[in-house]
Every structure is written in C-alpha cells, then in structure tokens.
C-alpha cells in the first residue's frame, strides 16, 4: 500500500467526516400476522429482538476494527398497515409501542415501517394506521413512519394527500418533533435504509442488511482542489470521490452481512448532511461556485452533483438501491440553515431542487398556523414532481406551534435547527377539498 493512499483514507475519516451513516436491518413481519393483535405484537417483538439481537454489537465491532464511524444502527420492517390489517383493532398504537420496545431492547437508534402504501386506495389497515399517526409520533420515541400517496404507475391519491395534510397538522399540535419521524412519499422505495422513510418492502427477503454512506465533507474537500477548473473536472472529481466513499459502504455492508448471517441488501449512495460544520451538501454547491445556496444556478449544480455521485457509486458496489442521491434537508445542514437566514433560500427554490436530487422538501419548519390544506398542497406538488419524473419525492415539513416566519426552532441532535420558513399565503383549499385522484401520467403506460 502506498503511504499517501493510507493517509488519504485517514484524512477522510478524521478531518472530513467520512462515515457510514447507517447500517439498517430490514426485517419482514409477514409471518407475524395474526387476527389477535396481542399475539401478533408478541411475535413481532420476538422476531425483531431475535433477528437484530447482534446488530448494534456487530456495528460497534466493525467501527473498532476498521476505524470508520458508523453513526446509526437501525431497523426497518414490513409496513405495519399490512401486518395489523388482520386484527380488528381500531387503533394501531399498540403495534407502534411494540416496535418502540423492540428497538429499545436491541439498542438501535430508530425503527422504520409504521407505514401505509395508499397510492391507489386504502385497505382497512391503511385507514386505521393513518388515524393512529398523531398519537404514535408524539408518544413513541424511536418509531418512524411513512405514507406513500402516489406513484408514477398509479397516480396520486388526493384523498390521502388531503388526509396527510390534516395528520401533519394534528401531530404538530401534540409535539414539535413528531413530524421529524413522518415522511409522505411518492414512488417510495422498498429498500431505503435512511430514516424516517425506511420500510422493508413486501418483495424483499426475510431479513437483509443495507448500508447508507455519507461524506459531503469529503466531496467538498476534493472540490477545493479543483477551484477554477471546468464543470467537467468538477463532475469527474465528484465521481472519483463518490467511488471511494461508496467502497467503504460496500466493505462495511459485506462484513456486517457475514457477521450477522443475513444477506447483504444494497448500498444507498446518498450524500447525507449533518448540522456539523464541514458536513454539508449546501457547502458543496457553494464550492462549485454559488455565493449562497438557493441562488440561480443551484438546481443545475445540484443536478450535476446528484448524477456524479450515482455514476461514481454504482461501479463501487455490488448492488445499489434506496434513495441514492443528495439529500437537501434544511435543519440538518449548516449551509442550508445559513442560506435561509440570509434570505437566499426559500421553499419554492427547494421544491425546484427536489426535481433533480433524491427525495424532497425535508426538515423544513413552517409557521404553526399553516392550514392543513396548504400542507396537503405542498405534498401534492412534491408528489407531482415525483410522479411525472419517475423518481422518489417526499415531504417532511414541520409546522411549529406558535412560531412565526424567521423564528429559530431547535429539534436537537442530528435533527438540527432552522428558522421557520415562509409558505405561500394564498389558499389551495378548494383544490384539495375536491378529493379524488390525479390519474397516472401517460408515460407510465409502458407495457
């Protein structure tokens, strides 16, 4: 091995915050279905605590031996709306409590999959699960939830969109952080290891281990060395860096899978920021040449970044999946927070950015008095972008009770902090209240 290569790796880990963002074990709960909810919950608890018994220990071992930080160990499960539908329970809080208890017992950071897939319609379990959400989000600690309201194949379920607007609002009434654990998707993926949107799809195996890599700091640092060069050089540099970052994910995933005796699922190539200085996607865009993220050119820079990350990462690992792209959460990214404070970044620009990167309007505090229909309309806009562009989009907005535009809100830890952002005051209520669905686009008819 060459000395400079060894030093490069050490630099990436020690100074540029290269880390494995998450090892996520996906666990199928289909074999836990029972018409007696107590029996189902007992089976769920047993299955999770058996399959994931060593997840945290193995993660810590790998961290120690390979000297690479693994920030989160997580679990995703089959959407609970499918599992709980067999019971006659009207409220699924008990299932959420079981997940919470199991997650705490094995020591993971989060458990995802308190989810429903309603892109084309509701089954009985979906309705009950969605109705339980405000209580579940406010009264459990580690349970993450997602609802898929649209897809390219089936269009957008606007009844669900309207309902999710009301649910987000109701959850915000109960707790400021409740909505940090809820994602409303269009084209949700079944193998996403990142929270809050992770769930274990029904087409997945009984259990798999997937890995999400990170490393915005590494990409920014690499770009600092090519100042003034053409955008082709920028794209090449990002590709090469993404390759190296992803190789870490492949290595960690392979080892974790072997030690846990569970098949290796996918590597998610996402660039996931944290509020820490030097761990920001916004700062990569600024390094490409924007005085402040949010200004004209931001969408183009992000498109280049997102594509180059994928191209570099795909060669580096055996199987790519999940969301794989750049994340642009506001409160979790120091550069985004600063751009909002400077007045350079607004929700409309963020929406445009979501057309070219992974996911969507993420971790955005909005005024507490935002009407439910406006939140639903934001969800509808994002879902439309996802549906038409054949990509995953999502909304995780955070109405904050009693707060006005510009006031700072602290969510704590990796969730970060951000100023409340302005939403368009004109009403969307009449459109949202029409209900029904937006039909699937013409280009979805591929057969």
């Amino acid at each position: 091995m060459e000395t400079n290569k060894i030093l490069e790796t050490i630099h990436m880990i020690s100074d540029e915050k290269l880390d494995i963002r998450t090892i996520t074990m996906g666990i199928s709960l289909l074999d836990c279905i029972d018409s007696d909810s107590d029996r189902a919950c007992e089976r769920i608890y047993q299955k999770i605590t058996t399959k994931a018994a060593n997840l945290v220990k193995v993660g810590e071992q790998i961290e120690a031996e390979y000297g690479i930080p693994i920030i989160n160990k997580r679990i995703s499960v089959t959407p609970i709306a499918l599992i709980a539908a067999a019971s006659s329970d009207q409220n699924y809080f008990k299932y959420a409590q079981t997940l919470d208890r199991a997650a705490k017992a094995v020591g993971v950071n989060f458990i995802g999959g308190f989810s429903a897939l309603v892109q084309k319609g509701y089954q009985s379990g979906d309705r009950r699960l969605i109705a339980s959400l405000p209580q579940v989000l406010a009264e459990t600690d580690l349970v993450c939830s997602s609802v898929n309201v649209g897809s390219t194949r089936s269009g957008i379920n606007m009844d669900a969109v309207a309902e999710m607007g009301r649910i987000v609002k109701a959850a915000a009434e109960r707790s400021t952080t409740a909505n940090t654990k809820l994602v409303v998707f269009c084209n949700a993926v079944e193998d996403n290891p990142f929270m809050a949107g992770a769930f274990h799809g029904v087409g997945e195996g009984d259990a798999v281990v997937s890995v999400g890599v990170s490393g915005p700091g590494v990409v920014k640092h690499a770009l600092e060395k090519v100042k003034g060069e053409s955008l082709n050089v920028v794209a090449e540099t990002i590709k090469k860096t993404a390759f190296k970052v992803t190789r870490m994910g492949q290595l960690v995933g392979t080892i974790a899978s072997k030690r846990l005796g569970v098949p290796f699922g996918i590597v998610d190539l996402s660039l996931a920021p944290t509020p820490a200085v030097g761990d920001s996607v916004a700062q990569i865009l600024e390094e490409i040449g924007l005085a402040k993220v949010g200004t004209h050119g931001t969408t183009a820079a992000l498109a280049l970044l997102n594509d180059a990350v994928k191209k570099g990462g795909i060669m580096a690992c055996s199987r790519v999946g999940g969301l794989s792209g750049a994340f642009i959460p506001v409160s979790e990214d120091a550069g985004m927070i600063s751009a909002v404070e400077a007045g350079s970044l607004n929700i409309e620009k963020l929406e445009a950015m979501t057309a070219v990167c992974s996911v969507g309007l993420d971790m955005i505090p909005i005024p507490g008095d935002t009407p439910a229909e406006t939140i639903a309309a934001m969800i509808a806009d994002e879902a439309a972008i996802g549906m038409i562009n054949n990509k995953t989009t999502a909304v995780r907005v955070l109405p904050v009770k009693g707060k006005k535009v510009g006031e700072m809100v602290e969510f704590g830890g990796l969730m970060g902090y951000a100023p409340v952002m302005a939403v368009n005051p004109a009403s969307s209520a009449t459109m949202i209240n029409r209900g029904g669905s937006i039909p699937a686009p013409i280009h979805s008819f591929k057969n």
Partner: protein
C-alpha cells in the same frame, strides 16, 4: 489478521522504540514499516500481523491510543481491508 498501524505527530526521541516495544510485548509481528517526515510531522506506517482471533481489537486500539498520548503522537490501528477497499478494485 493484518492491520495497519499509523503513528503521526511531532518528531522526537523514542517513538519507534516505544511503539515496537509495545508490539513486541503483545507478540504482534511487524511485517512492513515505512517512516517519513511530512511537513515536519513524523509519519510512520506499520503493517502488523495480529495472531489469533482472541485479541480484543477495541482494547488494543485503546492501549495504542494511550501509548500515543505518552509519546506525544497519535496512534491508530485499522484492519488493512479498509485501505484496500477504498483504493483498489
């Protein structure tokens, strides 16, 4: 298992001696060593062979970090696969 031990810090008397004595006591064999001064910093890389699967890696890494503190340098140990994974196909 093979691991790469890196020692980086301000150059002074006794760094190599301190590290190799520690390894000898732990019966850890040094397979290869390279040492240079980069920007005034003492930089040493050792490839070592750790015998048996019983060695507690966390404990070893901690003891080396402590040794680094007494020698005024930073000592890290990582399994070699991480470096191969990143730079070689």
């Amino acid at each position: 298992m093979k691991a790469i031990l890196t020692t980086i810090g301000k150059d002074q008397v006794g760094i190599i001696a301190g590290v190799s004595q520690f390894l000898a006591k732990k019966e850890i064999n040094i397979l290869d060593v390279s040492q240079t001064i980069m920007d005034g910093y003492f930089t040493m890389m050792m490839m070592v062979e750790i015998q048996g699967s019983q060695t507690d890696f966390t404990d070893l890494a901690q003891k080396l970090a402590d040794l680094g503190k007494t020698l005024g340098v930073e000592i890290k140990i990582r399994r070699e696969e991480i470096y191969h994974a990143m730079h070689q196909l």
